[in-house]
Amino acid sequence: MEVANKGKVVSVTEAVVEVEFMAEPRPRLRDVLILEKDPSIKVQVMKSSDNTRFYCIGLSKTRAIKRGDVVVNTGDALKIPVGVGILGRVMNVFGEAKDGLGEIKYDKLAPVFNESPSYADTVADLQFLETGIKIVDLYAPLVQGGKVGLFGGSGVGKTMLLTEILHNIINKDPKNNVSVFCGVGERSREGHELFNELKDTNVLPSVSLVFGAMGESPATRFLTAFAGASVAEYFRDDYGKNVLLFVDNIFRFAQAGSELSLLMNNIPSEDGYQATLNSEMASVHERLVAKNGRSVTAIEAIYLPEDDLFDPAAQTVFGYLDSSIVLSRDAYREGRLPAVDIIQSDSDALNPHNVTPKHYYVATASKSLLKKAELLERIVSLVGESELSDEDRTLYQRARKIKKYT
């Protein structure tokens, strides 16, 4: 006999658990259910599969869950600890400390899923944010309160550039800024290295880190991006600071969502991703905006499978970005670091209103010169530089110097 807020496990497929609630009240979407025999095991309702059954994602290892186990509805969604005490700490999406420094002290629990601010509260003011990295500042300037994407295939230096930007801007106006680093689906080694680097350079006290590494369940990886947004919102709204949110890597969020979608028996879209990719991406990005005079500046690494800029996950992110920095394998092979593809990189802030007229002129004129040199590259590779006209050779050589200088 079922009791009101109890159901039972019908099936377990990797990270997805199907439960049945025969009696009312049935759980709402995003309610957290706990296993009666072990309350530390939690699942979250994601979708109803029929009138009485629900697909849930495992928030902890699902190996201990068996068919027939009883689950209890907590009636509440997943929440993450927030407060001044999380600065300088590393935690996972459940608020568990991952730095070995004891329990996390927090002021309150914030819901991991949240609504985006209304249009009236949102502020759109593009203000140039200097990073000190020549190629970024000149061709794809960052904006305070904007979003920047670092696109690239594996091993072209996305994490390296993200970390460099973090180091260069984290100490700007420490009175009004805090930073949040959200590690989604990347190697735990990288998280460890970053933590030690931040500690060694004494910037750790103004950074809060939320990690859901590659080895975690897809549910944990999926939720980590939302948790990062919740922490950023807390520092913006309750703590009254400008927030720099670093996400490495937002592609892994799309990938985790795709894994979960398939496990929940959803039919994928034609390109292989989940049909809900757009709305999932929107539900994170729409929250990362400037509100009531305080901003969230998001800097996101985006992995490109097979170096394909037209990958649907990457294309979904494009629409939210103010600046896109594309890293290329060719530039990396030439030994140029950061290996930025100048022609493909761009920024909304690159206009005479947000940057100086001289900056705008030099960036656009040099880009045009680089584009012409790119066309000459084919001739050079076939017959050599000596076959170019004097004018073309000068242009070609200047373009090479600009690439090496920036």
């Binding site: 140039f128 200097e130 000190g132 990295i133 020549k134 500042d137 000149l138 300037p141 030994g335 140029r336 940057v355 100086t356 001289k358 900056h359 030099v362 004129a365 040099s366 010169l369 000068t394 050589q397 200047r398 090479r400 110097k401 600009i402 090496k404 200088y405 920036t406």
Partner: protein, 38 residues
């Protein structure tokens, strides 16, 4: 490295002020002035 210095450097290269300098000298430098110290 300030953006103004970067702009100055790129503009000078475009204007041909460094046409005689070998391109390897532009690698791994900060300000364009560092070319003279390489």
């Amino acid at each position: 490295m300030t953006v103004d210095k970067t702009i100055e450097g790129v503009k000078n290269i475009m204007d041909g002020n460094y046409d005689d300098v070998p391109e390897d000298k532009f690698m791994n430098i900060g300000s364009i002035d560092e070319i003279n110290t390489k």
